[in-house]
């Protein structure tokens, strides 16, 4: 009897955990970015400090979203790659990084839409790690580039 009650309690707990996880793990079709490990992320305020620092390695900044968004505003010094989910974007990524040492500090960013729906950053992160890069970070933009970078007053460049 005690064993049965314990089993029932465990089943209920597992069920609740499963429900809870389903609530916070978004639909895979739109939630790829959320599956990135926290260790792969860099917060905007942290990146700003890195970029402003007089010492330390500066990252290669790669925008992996839309060119139309990049042209309106991007992080100064960043390069446009585009969506690596298409051939052109993947070729551009290779052009940017193929000759680089695999320990090169690289930061990817997009900011097209809310983090939970961004389809662009994880494929790019996966691609770089698949190429052997070990020092890659993804800029965490909770809402979009406008709200989480531009509107915060962080450095911005416009145009090509």
């Amino acid at each position: 009897m005690a064993l049965r009650k314990r089993s029932e309690k465990m089943a209920l707990a597992v069920f609740c955990i499963a429900l809870f996880s389903a609530a916070i793990v978004p639909n895979q079709a739109g939630g790829q970015a959320t599956s990135l490990s926290p260790s792969h992320l860099i917060q905007p305020e942290e990146l700003v400090k890195v970029l402003a620092a007089t010492k330390g390695e500066k990252p290669l900044l790669l925008q992996v979203g839309s060119y139309v968004l990049y042209a309106q505003a991007h992080i100064p010094g960043s390069e446009y790659v585009g969506l690596v989910t298409n051939e052109v974007g993947m070729q551009q990524l290779h052009r940017q990084v193929d000759s680089l040492p695999r320990r090169k500090f690289i930061v990817l960013f997009c900011g097209c839409c809310p983090w939970s729906h961004c389809p662009n950053v994880k494929p790019a992160d996966d691609a770089l790690r698949g190429m052997g890069f070990t020092n890659v970070k993804v800029l965490y933009l909770a809402n979009n580039f406008g709200a989480d970078w531009v509107d915060k007053g962080y450095p911005v460049a416009r145009g090509q």
């Binding site: 739109g30 585009g82 989910t85 809402n143 145009g159």
Partner: protein, 163 residues
Amino acid sequence: MAILLVAGFFYIAAHRHGGTGGGTALQLHSAAPDFSLPELNGQPLQLSDYRGKVVLLDFWATWCDPCREETPHLVELQNKYRDQGLQIIGVSMDDTPEPVRDFYRHFQMNYPVVLGNARIGELYGGVLGLPIAFVISREGRIFTKHIGATDISVLERDVRTLL
């Protein structure tokens, strides 16, 4: 502990998509910047040609999941209020037209879609996240601006106010 987990589930489920209005509504009342951009068929579309109609100007892209989710609702809204003077115009922020054409056919879109660029993004205050929707009055003034996924009932409310 189990009750807390279940309670947490219901709380998060209720707020997961931003509740009743995930976007930021901004009533500007300024004149909507006029523009001329090519539709998918290459013909130019001039915003000012729609003066006298209520215009819902929707910035979106094919790879944007919230945009994909809202599209069928916008198609329904266009059908529902077309005769009363609603005109939805989609501004695709895709880099090339090919995926836009595929998307247009797949979703059987019933309103014009133009190919956007950085210039129109700047004209409309910076389109630095998608989707962004502007509801524009018959007189050509911006009534509301919604940033991010917005419940269709919110957009419908704005449209009905102006019709």
